[in-house]
């Protein structure tokens, strides 16, 4: 009898533990079911997804670098070869890493934004909550903007509402179908999100890989600048420069170091938001021709700090990343140039030249810099554009964006040419090929309308 009772006792004990408690244990050690604010912050602190691998297709199609026939043949992917010669088909049926990586970033931000809906922050958590929300909005707007500059037509207020924009994915649910918005909707969303982020983000971020108020202002300045709304770009760049205006004195750099420019460690004081572009085989130390190399004056330290010469070749090793990948973030030098050109466009020549000279004085051997002067608005703009090419030769897709912007000005637009093994390739201004094709797997799976090439 006692034994029976004992058996019943064993059975009862073994089964009394709650079924749900028993089965609620997560299966993978490192798995986390993101719930808390710090989980969501950890998702945004995944620098691999949120800061690195920004799109780089624009660089491939732009004109500051060149390839020899053999290095063109040696490029790892056909996308690189095709983008270099502006071929109508870029991907040849393959996936597009730029697109995939950017939308992965978007998915992360959407997961975080939806996660925030389930959290009611306490008073103590409010700052953290705001930071997470502002950061997610910023990251999403940043990649939306980069995608728009690659896969949608340049901003034209006359046609923006009918031009095809990018798919604006705003929900984490993978079952929601992707469809193309208009260029108008694309930019409206980018600007709306950035303006909201600015109210939420802190003045100083904990890490440079996290955004801040200044980073938002810098990005807004860039967005308006490339939309040719120079009054807006001036005002946002002023806001930015009110907070961040320290410059890196190139005289302080060690010309013997392999990477002469600082990135995160030691920190480059000009960097406000740190991100880097995807590494393509031909974006590693892009090569400039001798003319471009010679466009830097002897006293211009950028020639020595940006380039390593080996034989005839001049390789760019001066990325603000402080390392191999090209810089794709927000730094003060770019915002000063935006400010200078915006001022020039609006006719404020003294202010324009003043801010340009302030920047350049840190680029020349101490005492050797003669401040530049411009007699007319046009002259000022041309000076600034030429200095922009020297200051930002390989920063993300900036040169590509600039080409798209200048295509609208007949005097400043250019026809790009490539020469490979005796064949000349040309890209005339405002050509359809300034808009990249939507990757074929995306078209196949979500039926997006393809861009004409």
């Amino acid at each position: 009898m006692k034994k029976i009772l004992l058996f019943i006792f064993i059975v009862a004990t073994a089964t009394s533990c709650n079924k749900h408690d028993w089965l609620d244990v997560k299966s993978n050690k490192s798995d986390l079911v993101p719930k808390s604010l710090s989980d969501l912050q950890a998702i945004l602190d995944n620098t691999e997804v949120m800061n690195f691998n920004y799109p780089e297709l624009g660089f491939l199609g732009s004109d500051n670098y060149y390839l020899t026939y053999s290095s063109w043949q040696g490029a790892f992917t056909s996308a690189e070869r095709n983008a270099y010669i502006w071929a109508p088909d870029i991907f040849e049926g393959a996936t597009c890493v730029d697109w995939d990586a950017a939308y992965k970033t978007v998915a992360y931000t959407n997961i975080v934004l939806e996660g925030l809906n389930n959290i009611t922050p306490s008073a103590v958590q409010q700052d953290q909550y705001n930071n997470v929300k502002g950061s997610a909005l910023f990251y999403r707007a940043y990649v939306f903007y980069d995608l728009a500059e690659l896969f949608a037509k340049p901003w034209d207020s006359a046609t923006a509402s009918s031009d095809s924009g990018i798919p604006l994915r705003l929900a984490a649910d993978v079952n929601v179908a992707s469809k193309r918005s208009s260029v108008q909707e694309t930019y409206n969303k980018i600007i709306e999100d950035l303006k909201e982020a600015e109210t939420l983000l802190p003045e100083t971020p904990l890490y440079l890989t996290r955004p801040s108020k200044a980073a938002v202002e810098g990005l807004l300045a860039r967005v308006y600048f490339n939309r040719r709304q120079y009054d807006q770009s001036l005002s946002w760049s002023e806001k930015y420069l009110g907070k961040r205006n320290s410059l890196l004195d190139f005289n302080s750099l060690d010309s013997n170091a392999y990477f002469k420019l600082p990135g995160l460690q030691p920190v480059n004081p000009e960097i406000t938001f740190y991100s880097t572009a995807l590494i393509y085989s031909i974006s590693v130390f892009p090569k400039v021709d001798t003319m471009r190399y010679q466009s830097y004056q002897a006293a211009d330290l950028r020639r020595a700090m940006f380039f390593v010469s080996s034989g005839q070749d001049h390789l760019f090793t001066g990325a603000y990343s402080g390392s191999v990948p090209l810089f794709a973030g927000i730094a003060t030098n770019e915002i000063m140039l935006i400010n200078a050109e915006s001022n020039a466009r609006l006719g404020n020549l003294p202010q324009s030249m003043d801010v340009l000279n302030k920047l350049l004085s840190k680029r020349y051997i101490t005492g050797s810099f003669t401040p530049l002067n411009a007699g007319t608005t046009g002259e000022a703009i041309d000076i600034i554009i030429s200095e922009r090419r020297k200051e930002l030769p390989f920063t993300g897709n900036l040169r590509w964006q600039e080409l798209r912007r200048l295509n609208t000005e007949p005097a400043r637009s250019v026809t790009l040419t490539r020469l490979l093994n005796g064949t000349v390739y040309k890209l005339p201004p405002a050509d359809n090929r300034y808009v990249y094709p939507i990757p074929p797997d995306e078209v196949k799976l979500s039926g997006l309308q393809q861009n004409p090439r």
């Binding site: 089964t15 996936t95 992707s178 890490y207 890989t209």
Partner: protein, 1092 residues
């Protein structure tokens, strides 16, 4: 769970003590057929409502209080008997029980939950007894199922690959495959005695195994619920028998294997052809960049000679002499001579067993030692096993068991084997004219990773020797793995009144597996890394080492702990006049926890155990010979998983009138990997079955067919997906900021659930011509629903794919097994024939495939390594190809078809051929297979041979690349290069197109995906022959052994017939087409088995 407690509680009132005095009735129960004691028979007094059981020697005693009563004696497998008893009854009754049925064979099937006589089962079971298991000699127990189990096949392609597909680790399938997803294990569930076995199958010593039961259909397997979809293999260990005197068994055998035949593959491109291709490429300037590159890529000896000749540093005559010398070399000779050897495997075991009425015991010790075909690879295994039962008091039985295994493997040849030794750069595998040893017996270097001139020059200026000498690498290697596995098990069972037995079983298993790879300072790995990161100061001549000189150590450990608890009630009793009910019910809790970690050390000194820790992993350093980079840390990671299951199960079988059988089972599983909604639903796996022994009917009058039994079952089992249903992220430390960061693994799916396999099985068991012919015929259908598929997502969702339960498949087949005793005199000749037909097809699958992915390179079908391709209406493993139009007689171009017209627009053919216009040949897995085994015995001698066949399937041959530069690149070096089209007229005798430079990728892919490379894979092989001689004590007085067996066993004897004309063994296909593959070498084993 509550009903279980209720069930127990209901039994309580039965207990009511009696205070009167009675007499004690004692007796013994024996079986009529064997005249042997029947243990565990139920003895019950009808009026007194009291029950007892017979002990191991069949004896029982029971008090009788009333003056008259009836004793009923019942036992599974026997007809019950009722006899009247009174106070005058003789005190030593002998009760003889009759066997219930005409015996099919004395087969007891074990499901891991219960043992049942096979004739009382409705499901599909295959029982492999001890004798059949021991027919084959192997260190792996499962290998012994090959060719003797109907419906079970070892899959081609897997045989050839030491590293089997991650989801088919065991390399076998039972009645095909239902899962489509690459992350779902397609292996059968392995059960060791009572519980799933989670350790490495090689840990089990085959000498400890008594029998194996393979459960194929729902009635057999659904008691294992969500893990039984791929079938279940129940391994039963040996145990001591009650009443058995001490018995000792000693076995010893040695297996010697031939050296592998490296010259087997018809694909190997030997030196003359290879050098011709190199010469052609050299003349085209293909190596010019390499020859002057700062990156100093490897330059093969032949190309080195060509370049010296071109530079005028070598005369044409001298160059020709040197090249001709290279052409005479064949690296296969050196591999065969220095890297391979005959294999030797030694297997020793000893066991003790026996038992009394109160206790039984089994104890065994095993030792295995293997010297593999690779010269420096060997392994050893020690196993200890004990299994004891005690019956301290009546009705209570306690079982304890311990199994311990220690395995050591040495893999010192792994990186230098035929097929793994590489050169790098523009080459893949090592060039075919490499030599490993010079005339003086010194190890020779091969060109590897860098050019030899560079390597020599660096050594001159003070860098470490940078040569790669394969034979020295083998000598210096120290790469071992150790596995320690312990299983503790116990079972307590108590016989309750009313024919109920309650038991609690427990099993704990812990497996610690670790690998340790020590690269000594002399190893290439260590020297190479040190040199790459060493910086020479040109002024002072001193070196800065960013990776310190010294050894490198990497360690990985993988530990698994599983435990199971099961509570179970068994009920077995006569019901009604001639009915018998066997039922079980219970619950089970199970947890499997794995932890993996690994680390590596630079500058490791093996003598002192010290290493260098202050290594800068963040800064960029120049790397020799060119470039820059950070020091890559050696793997350091920790990961782990926990799987939990909670299950309820019940099973009942009722037989009556000796003719009719009804069975049913149900099981509910919950797991921490299913979605929340799934765990909350009560959708059990269940099965039902019926059986009818027609030959026991009164109206049955077919004298020559003495047994005819029909069975039918229906039910469900499942497969578990090891992913998560939740949106999960992996936490880590961000490399850049040091902050905590999370990466998202998968989008959530609350509905994620197990895959469901519906099984229908019809079976017919028969015995004819006075048991000369016995057989089983089964027809089945398996329908997989809710199969997990990797549905692709548009990349704009941020994810590339999504796991959902959406696909469906159906598999139909026939399993026939026949055994005939052709001669049964002094000379006995018997034949066993197994035939299985199987046809599977995909019903629904959402993913769409491009023709290119269906006709891809892999020779085993396109899918083995990337997951299955589902094309609705077609088999799971389909072989597809482009229609072939021959070779263009003018250019040697392959001709294909585009919209029905001959075309050489390969790009258009590849992207524009609709999937339904591809040539579909059939399945790449056998659709008919089986074996014929003949056994002759005469006096103590016995000889048997097993012939296996596989048919109704196809494979894709490999061939040369049509792009010159790839001809020498390791992945496509192929002898077909020599048969290429070179001039008009060649198309009459070859189908290998011309090889071009630089070459057209689409043209090459078209050829490799074309119909011309598809062949039938059907073949017949003589698997093995066994010759044995058994001596029994009965025949020889004063013979010290009760039994002595001597045997010789020859395995892998080779192919007898094949459908393909290319001389290819379809079980050993060459996926890469490199010609660096060989069939399993023939082995011969000699063994002895003695019983005292």
């Amino acid at each position: 769970m509550k009903y279980l407690i209720g069930l127990v509680a209901m039994l309580l009132p039965i207990f009511s003590a009696r205070a009167q005095n009675g007499i004690l009735i004692t007796g013994k129960v024996i079986s009529e057929s064997g005249n042997a004691p029947v243990a565990d028979a139920t003895i019950s007094l009808r009026h007194q409502k009291q029950t007892t059981y017979t002990n191991a020697s069949g004896a029982f005693s029971i008090p009788l209080y009333d003056s008259n009563d009836e004793i009923t004696v019942s036992h599974v497998g026997f007809l019950s008997q009722t006899i009247p008893v009174s106070k005058n009854t003789s005190s030593s009754l002998i009760i003889t029980l009759q066997d219930t049925t005409v015996k099919l064979d004395e087969v007891v099937v074990n499901t891991g939950y219960q043992s049942l006589p096979k004739e009382r089962a409705t499901g599909s079971f295959v029982q492999i007894d001890n004798k059949l298991l021991n027919r084959r000699i192997s260190t792996n127990i499962l290998d012994r199922l090959e060719g003797v189990t109907s419906g079970l096949i070892f899959n081609a392609g897997n045989l050839a690959n030491a590293s089997r597909m991650s989801n088919e680790k065991l390399g076998m399938s039972i009645r095909g495959r239902s899962s489509l997803d690459a992350n779902i294990s397609a292996d059968p569930l392995i059960v060791l005695d009572n519980f799933p076995y989670e350790g490495d199958i090689n840990n089990i010593n085959p000498n400890d195994i008594e029998s194996i039961t393979v459960l194929k259909d729902a009635a057999a397997a659904s008691i294992w619920g969500s893990r039984a979809g791929n079938g279940v293999i129940v391994i039963t260990t040996k145990k001591g028998q009650a009443g058995q005197p001490l018995s000792v068994e000693v076995t010893s055998n040695i297996t010697i294997g031939e050296k592998p035949d490296l010259f087997y593959s018809p694909y190997f491109l030997s030196a003359p052809g290879f050098i011709n291709a190199e010469k052609y490429l050299f003349d085209k300037g293909y190596f010019d960049r390499d020859l002057k590159s700062y990156a100093m890529p490897p330059i093969s000896p032949a190309v080195q000679i060509f370049s010296l000749q071109r530079a005028g540093l070598l005369s044409d005559a001298e160059a020709a002499t040197q090249i001709n010398a290279l052409k005479t070399l064949d690296v296969r000779n050196d591999f065969s001579k220095y890297v391979y050897r005959k294999s030797t495997k030694l297997q020793e075991s000893a066991s003790l067993s026996g038992g009394t009425e109160k206790a039984t015991y089994f104890f065994s010790f095993g030792y295995d030692k293997g010297l593999e075909n690779l010269v420096a690879d060997n392994n050893s295994r020690i196993t200890l096993n004990s299994y004891n039962t005690f019956k301290p008091v009546k009705s209570l039985e306690i079982v304890t068991g311990i199994m311990y295994t220690q395995v050591k493997n040495v893999f010192n040849t792994a990186a230098d084997a035929f097929g793994t030794l590489t050169t790098g750069g523009k080459y893949g595998t090592v060039y075919p004219y490499a030599s490993f040893k010079d005339a003086a017996g010194n190890a020779l270097p091969i060109v590897r990773d860098y050019s030899s001139t560079y390597v020599d020059s660096m050594q001159h200026i003070g860098y470490l020797d940078w040569h790669y000498r394969p034979l020295d690498e083998i000598k210096n290697a120290d790469n071992t793995s150790n596995i320690g596995d312990i299983i503790l098990r116990s079972n307590i069972s108590y016989r309750l009144p009313a024919h109920v037995k309650a038991s609690v079983s427990f099993q704990y298993e812990k497996q610690d597996a670790g690998t340790r790879n020590y690269y000594s300072p002399e190893s290439y790995m260590a020297r190479n890394l040190v040199n790459r990161y060493a910086v020479l100061d040109p002024v002072t001549g001193t070196f800065t080492y960013h990776i310190p000189p010294g050894g490198i150590l990497t360690k990985r450990s993988n530990s698994m702990v599983s435990w199971n608890v099961r509570g179970q009630l068994d009920y077995a009793n006569q019901l009604g006049k001639s009915g018998q009910l066997n039922a079980i019910a219970g619950y089970e809790i199970r947890q499997v926890k794995t932890i993996y970690d690994g680390y590596g050390l630079f500058g490791y000194n093996d003598e002192l155990g010290t290493s260098v820790s202050n290594i800068d992993f963040n800064s960029y350093f120049p790397i020799n010979p060119a470039g820059f980079g950070t020091v890559q840390p050696l793997t350091t990671d920790v990961s782990g998983s926990t799987q939990r299951f909670l299950s309820l199960f019940a099973n009942a079988a009722y037989s009556f009138n000796n003719r009719y059988l009804i069975s049913a089972s149900a099981r509910q599983d919950g797991a921490n990997i299913f979605g929340v909604r799934t765990n909350d639903q009560i959708t059990p796996f269940w099965s039902a079955g019926i059986g009818w022994t027609i030959s026991n009917e009164k109206f049955y009058h077919i004298p020559w067919l003495s047994l005819l039994k029909a069975r039918a079952t229906y039910g469900y089992n499942g497969n578990v997906y090891n992913g998560s249903a939740y949106l999960t992220a992996s936490l880590g430390t961000d490399y850049t900021t040091g902050a905590m960061s999370a990466s998202i693994n998968n989008p959530p799916n609350q509905d994620l659930r197990w895959e469901k396999i519906r099984n229908i099985n019809y079976g017919l068991d028969f015995s004819a011509f006075k048991s000369i012919l016995n057989g089983t015929f089964e027809i089945y259908s398996k329908r997989g629903t809710d199969l997990i598929e990797n549905a692709p997502l548009p990349p704009s969702t941020g994810f590339t794919s999504y796991k959902g339960n959406a696909a469906e498949t159906v598999t139909k087949g026939i399993d026939l097994s026949l055994t005939s005793t052709n001669i049964n005199k002094k000379l006995r000749w018997s034949t066993t024939l197994l035939i299985s037909f199987i046809k599977d097809k995909v019903i629904t699958f959402d993913n769409n495939y491009l023709p290119a992915s269906l006709t891809g390179y892999n020779s085993v079908g396109t899918i083995e390594y990337t997951g299955l391709i589902g094309i609705p209406g077609k088999p799971l493993y389909g072989v597809y190809s482009y229609k072939w139009g021959g070779l263009d007689p003018q250019t040697g171009d392959p001709i294909g078809y585009l919209i029905g017209k001959p075309s050489t627009d390969y790009q258009a053919i590849i992207s524009g051929t609709p999937v339904d216009s591809l040539v579909f040949s059939g399945s790449s897995r056998p659709t008919v297979f089986g074996s014929i085994r003949n056994t002759f015995s005469f006096k103590g001698f016995s000889i048997s041979a097993n012939i296996l066949y596989k048919g109704g399937y196809y494979f894709r041959k490999s061939s040369t690349s049509l792009i010159y530069s790839q001809v020498i690149n390791g992945s496509t070096v192929n002898a077909d290069f020599a048969d290429r089209w070179q001039q008009p007229g060649d198309e009459k005798h070859t189908s290998v197109p011309s090889v071009t430079y630089p070459g057209d990728v689409n043209r090459n892919n078209f050829y490799h995906g074309s119909e011309v490379l598809i062949e039938k894979a059907d073949h017949i092989r003589l698997q093995d022959i066994r010759l044995s001689y058994d001596l029994e004590q009965m025949r020889f007085k004063k013979f010290p052994f009760s039994h002595l067996g001597l045997y010789v066993y020859a395995n892998n004897l080779g192919i007898l017939w094949r459908a393909n004309k290319s001389g290819i063994d379809p079980d050993y296909l060459d996926n890469g087409g490199t010609g660096r593959i060989y069939p399993a070498p023939k082995t011969i084993a000699f063994g002895i088995k003695a019983n005292f």
